[in-house]
C-alpha cells in the first residue's frame, strides 16, 4: 500500500517539476520584462533565489525530521533528514555558483563580500558539508542520533549567520539588495513565484527519488542476508 503511494508521489512531483520548470524558463525569458537597471543579468535571480529558498525549506525539513527522529527513533526520519540535507546542499552549492556568475556579470569580479545572501550561502555550504563529515565519523544508532542533533543546530545557525552577515555589511558597505521584493513589478513577481514553485517541486522529486532508492537498497540488503542464511 505504501509502495503504491510512494510511487505515485514521485510521479506527481516529477510531472509537476517538469511542467513548472518549463513554464518558469519560458516565462522568465520570453514573458518577464527585462530589468531596467541590470538588464538581462537580472534573469539569473529567478532561479538563484528560487534555489536558495528551496534549500532553506530543505534544511527546515531536515531539522524537523531530525527532531522527529530524536523523539521517535524511527530510522525513516533519519533517512529523510539526511536526504533533505544532501539535496539542499546541492542546491546551496548552485546558489553560490550562480551568485558568483552574477557577481562577475555585475561587478567584474568572481566574488563579492557585500551580498549577504551569497556570503551566507557560502557559510551554509560549509555548515552542511560538515554534516556529512559528522555522519561518516559514526556508525549505526550514534550516527543517526548525532546527525539529527546537528541538523537541528545547523538550522539554527542559518538565520543567525544571515543576520550577522547582513548587520555587519550594513555598518561597513551600503546594503546591496540584489532585488527589492516589494518594489518588483507584478509581471516579474509572478515568474519569481513560478520559479520558486518549480524549484520546490524539483526538490521534492529528488528527495523522493533518493528515498525510493534507499528503500530498494535496504530491501536488497534484507534479500542478501536471507540468501546467505
Amino acid at each position: 500500500m505504501t509502495e503504491a503511494l510512494r510511487g505515485r508521489g514521485l510521479a506527481v512531483s516529477g510531472t509537476l517539476a517538469a511542467v513548472l520548470t518549463t513554464l518558469a524558463v519560458i516565462g522568465v525569458f520570453l514573458v518577464a520584462p527585462e530589468d531596467a537597471d541590470q538588464g538581462i543579468i537580472q534573469k539569473i535571480f529567478y532561479f538563484h533565489v528560487a534555489l536558495a529558498s528551496a534549500s532553506l525549506v530543505g534544511f527546515l525539513v531536515a531539522c524537523i525530521a531530525g527532531l522527529l527522529y530524536l523523539r521517535r527513533r524511527e530510522e525513516r526520519w533519519d533517512e529523510l533528514s539526511a536526504t533533505a540535507v544532501g539535496i539542499s546542499l546541492l542546491f546551496s552549492g548552485l546558489v553560490v555558483v550562480t551568485g558568483s556568475i552574477w557577481a562577475k556579470a555585475s561587478w567584474g569580479t568572481w566574488w563579492v563580500w557585500s551580498d549577504p545572501r551569497l556570503v551566507t550561502y557560502l557559510i551554509v555550504v560549509l555548515l552542511y558539508a560538515a554534516y556529512f563529515v559528522l555522519r561518516s565519523s559514526a556508525e549505526g544508532e550514534r550516527r543517526r542520533r548525532h546527525s539529527a542533533i546537528f541538523a537541528v543546530a545547523a538550522f539554527a545557525s542559518v538565520p543567525l549567520s544571515f543576520w550577522s552577515v547582513r548587520v555587519a555589511n550594513s555598518f561597513v558597505h551600503p546594503v546591496v539588495f540584489t532585488q527589492r521584493g516589494a518594489n518588483m513589478p507584478g509581471s516579474m513577481l509572478v515568474w519569481f513565484v513560478v520559479s520558486q514553485a518549480a524549484m520546490l517541486a524539483v526538490f521534492a522529486t529528488l528527495v523522493q527519488l533518493q528515498l525510493v532508492q534507499s528503500r530498494a537498497e535496504r530491501a536488497l540488503q534484507r534479500l542478501k542476508s536471507l540468501v546467505e542464511a
Binding site: V25, G39, I40, I41, K43, I44, F47, H48, L51, I87, L90, G93, L94, V97, T98, I101, W102, K104, A105, V202, L206, L209, Q210, Q213, A216, E217, L220, L223, K224, V227
Partner: protein, 49 residues
C-alpha cells in the same frame, strides 16, 4: 550574444548541469542495485531450479 546574455546562459547551464549530475549519480546507484538484484536472482534460480 551580448556578454550579459552569456552570463545568464552560463548560470542556467550550471543549474542544468548540477541537476543532471545528480540524476547521473542516482542512475549509477540504481544500476548497482539492479546488478546486485540480478546476481541474487541468478543465485536463487540455481538453488531452486
Amino acid at each position: 550574444m551580448s556578454s550579459g546574455t552569456q552570463y545568464v546562459v552560463a548560470a542556467y547551464a550550471v543549474i542544468w548541469f548540477g541537476i543532471l549530475l545528480y540524476v547521473v549519480v542516482a542512475g549509477a546507484r540504481t544500476a548497482r542495485i539492479a546488478r546486485e538484484l540480478e546476481l541474487l536472482s541468478r543465485i536463487l534460480e540455481r538453488r531452486d531450479p
